[in-house]
C-alpha cells in the first residue's frame, strides 16, 4: 500500500494488488515471528542455565526453563481471551488443572505416551471449556468473571472429595511415569552432543516445539479475520453485534481456544512434574495466570510469556534470596528478602494496573518508540 507507484495507478487492480502484497507481507512477518521464536526458545535454556557469566548471575536451572515455557503457552492462550477479546476469566485453573488431571489419569490407566497425554488433556480441556463457556457467557462483564471462578471452584471441590478415587483427593495424583517419546527418547535424559548443551533435555525440546506451535497458532488466529472479530468485540461489543456478527458464538470460540492452550500447557505440566497437585485446580492458580498476563502486558503476543517468566523467576529464585545487599558490597538492605516475594509482586501488580495497563511489554515498546523518536528512526 505504501508503494507510491501502485497507488498512483488508480482503479480496482490496485486494491487487488495491494491486498495480495499485504497478504505476502503478513506471511513474511509470520515466518519471521515464528523463526525468531524458535531461535529464542532454542537459546533460552543455554542462556538461562548454562551460559558462562549470565547464568551465574541469573541462578537459572533447566527445569525452571521448561516450566517457564509451559506457563508461557498457558499465558498466550489466556491473553487471546483477556487481551484480545476483553473477557476476564477467573476460572482458567479449571482447564489447566483439568487437563493436568486428565493427562495424569490417562497416563495411569491407559497409556503414558507423552503424545497421548497431551492429546487427551487438551481434548478434555476443550470439552470442559465448551460447557463452562456456554454456562458462564450467559452473563457478561463481571458476572462472567465470577461465574468462571465459581465453576472452577466446583471442579476443585469435586476432585478434592467425591472424585478422590480418580484424582487422589488431597494428596494429588501421584505415580505417573511417562513413557519415552515415540518409544525411543527418554524425556528426562539430555539431548545428544551440541543440542544437549544448547537445549538440555528431550523434555525441553518437546515442550519447546509446543511453545513455538502455540506462538504460530496465536499469531495466525490474531491476524486472521476471525481474530479481528475478537478485537472488534473487545472494542465495542454492541457495535460488533449490530454489524451482524454472532458475538456470543465468537466469545464462546475465544473461550474454547484459550481453553485448548491451557489444556496443552496443563498436560505438559503433568509430563514435566509427573505429579498433579490438587492445588492446580484451586482458584489462586487462576489468579496466577491473570497476574502473569497482566504483569507482562495484555494484547501483545509475547508480553504474557514475559510475565510468566518474571513471575516464575521471582517465585522460584528470588524467593530463595536470603539477604538483599547493595550490589558488590556487604551492606544488607533487607533480611529474609525471599519471604516478601509475594507481597512485592502484589504491590507491583497493583502499580502496573494503576499506571501502566499495558504491562511491562507495553512499557518496553513505549520506551522503544520514544528512543526511536529521539534518534529519528525511519520505520513507518
Amino acid at each position: 500500500m505504501s508503494d507510491p507507484k501502485t497507488t498512483s495507478d488508480g482503479g480496482t487492480v490496485v486494491a487487488d494488488e495491494s491486498l495480495t502484497s499485504r497478504w505476502e507481507r503478513i506471511r513474511e512477518r509470520e515466518a519471521t515471528v515464528v523463526g525468531l521464536t524458535a531461535v529464542a526458545v532454542a537459546l533460552f535454556p543455554w542462556l538461562f542455565a548454562r551460559a558462562p557469566v549470565v547464568s551465574d548471575v541469573l541462578l537459572g536451572y533447566q527445569s525452571l526453563a521448561t516450566l517457564i515455557l509451559i506457563w508461557g503457552i498457558f499465558a498466550i492462550g489466556f491473553d487471546l481471551l483477556l487481551g484480545y477479546t476483553g473477557l476476564l476469566s477467573f476460572g482458567h485453573a479449571a482447564f489447566w488443572g483439568g487437563a493436568a488431571y486428565a493427562a495424569g489419569v490417562v497416563a495411569n490407566n491407559v497409556s503414558a505416551d507423552p503424545i497421548v497425554m497431551v492429546l487427551s488433556g487438551t481434548v478434555f480441556a476443550v470439552l470442559l471449556a465448551w460447557v463452562l463457556g456456554f454456562l458462564s457467557l450467559r452473563r457478561g462483564g463481571i458476572y462472567f468473571s465470577i461465574l468462571t471462578l465459581a465453576f472452577a471452584q466446583m471442579l476443585y471441590y469435586m476432585s478434592a472429595a467425591p472424585l478422590a478415587f480418580l484424582t487422589g483427593g488431597e494428596n494429588g495424583l501421584t505415580g505417573i511415569s511417562v513413557t519415552p517419546l515415540f518409544g525411543l527418547f527418554h524425556l528426562e535424559s539430555d539431548l545428544p552432543t551440541f543440542a544437549g548443551e544448547l537445549l538440555g533435555t528431550w523434555l525441553y525440546l518437546y515442550v519447546g516445539v509446543f511453545a513455538v506451535l502455540a506462538v504460530a497458532a496465536a499469531y495466525r488466529i490474531l491476524n486472521s479475520p476471525y481474530g479481528m472479530v475478537f478485537r472488534a468485540i473487545r472494542e465495542n461489543e454492541q457495535r460488533a453485534e449490530f454489524v451482524g456478527l454472532n458475538v456470543w458464538r465468537y466469545k464462546l470460540m475465544a473461550f474454547v481456544i484459550s481453553g485448548a492452550f491451557a489444556g496443552v500447557a496443563g498436560s505438559l505440566f503433568t509430563i514435566h512434574g509427573s505429579y498433579v497437585p490438587l492445588q492446580s485446580l484451586y482458584w489462586t492458580e487462576s489468579g496466577e495466570i491473570v497476574i502473569m498476563t497482566v504483569l507482562g502486558g495484555t494484547a501483545s503476543l509475547f508480553g504474557p510469556v514475559l510475565g510468566a517468566g518474571i513471575y516464575l523467576y521471582v517465585e522460584n529464585i528470588v524467593s530463595g534470596v536470603q539477604q538483599l545487599t547493595v550490589p558488590f558490597t556487604d551492606i544488607v538492605l533487607i533480611n529474609d528478602f525471599g519471604t516478601y516475594w509475594h507481597l512485592l509482586l502484589g504491590l507491583v501488580f497493583v502499580v502496573v494496573i494503576w499506571a501502566a495497563p499495558r504491562g511491562i511489554w507495553g512499557a518496553i515498546s513505549d520506551a522503544r518508540a520514544f528512543v526511536r523518536g529521539l534518534v529519528g528512526g525511519e520505520r513507518r
Binding site: 463481571i142 465459581a150 507481597l343 502484589g346
Partner: protein
Amino acid sequence: MSVLSELLVILLNGLQQGAIYVLLAVGLSIILGTLKFVNFAHGALYLIGTYAGLFIALDVTLSSGKLQEWGYADIGLGWGFLAALILVPILVFAIGLLMERLLARSFYDRPDTDQILVTFGLAIVVQELFRVLFGSNSLPFNQPEYILSVIPVSGPMTLPIVGQFPRWRLWVIGITAVLVGLVYLLVEHTDFGLVVRAGTRDAEMVRLLGIKISRPYLVVFGIGAALAGVAGVVGGPLNVVNPTVGMDILVPAFLTVVIGGVGTIAGAVVGGLVIGLTQAALIGLPALTIGSFTLNFSPWAQVGLYAIAAIILLVRPQGILGDEEVAP
C-alpha cells in the same frame, strides 16, 4: 435423635453459615449496585475484621511470623467480644473510607476488568502482609465464653462438622438479622437512602439537582466494608483464622450476590440462605442407602453449593430477585 431435631439442626446451621455469607453479600451488593464497583478485596476486609476481632477480644500469643521474630509475640487487648463487635466495624468502616478515596474512586470510570484486577491485587497485598506479620499458621479464635454454653436441641448433637450447637451460632444469626435490617431501613426509608438509590438510577441527574453524590457513595462503601468487618468478627470463631481465609470466603460471597440478584438487599439475604442451607443440608443429611449402593452426601457439600448456583443461573441468569438485565 428424632428426624425433627435433625432437621432443626440443619436449619440452624444453614442459617448460621448463610448469615456470614449474607453479611458479606449485602456489603458487596450495595457497593456493586450503587457504585458499580466490583470489590474483589472484600474478602481482605473480612480478613482484617477477623484478625482485628481476635486481637481486641482475646490475648493472642503468636508462634510464627515477623511480629514474633521482632519480639511482639504477645499481642491483643483482651477486651472481650462486645468490644470487638463495636470497635471492629468502626475500624473497618474507616479502612473502607480510605479505600474508596485512595483506590476505588480513580477506578469508577475504568472498565470492570480493571476494577477486578486492582482489587484482586490489593487483596493479595493485604493477605501477604498478614502472612508476613503473623505467619501462615492458623490462630485459635475461641468462642466467647459467656455464650459458649450448648443449647439442647433435643439431646446432644454429634453431627460431624456441627459438633454441638453453641449459643454463639444463634448470636451470629441474630446479629446478622439486626444489622441487615438496619441497612435495609437506611437504604429504603431514609433521605440518605433516597439519594443513594436515585444516584444508582441516574448519578448525573442527582448531581444536576445540586446533591453531592460523592459523599453518599463514600458512606455506602464504608458501610459495605464495615459489614465485612463484622462478618470477620462473628465468623472468626466458626472458621479457621489464617491469611488465606479472606480469599476463600470471597468466592461463596460473590456467588451469593450473583444468585440473589445484584443491588437488592433482599436478594443477598435470599442468596445467602439458599447457599447456607444447601451446604448445611448436604453436610447434615444421613447417607442414602439403596441396596448395596451407599450415597454419602457430605463430600458433595462444597460441590452442591456451586451446583445449586449453576442451576439457578441457568433458569434465572439475573438472579432470584434481580431485575431483568437491560442493555447498558
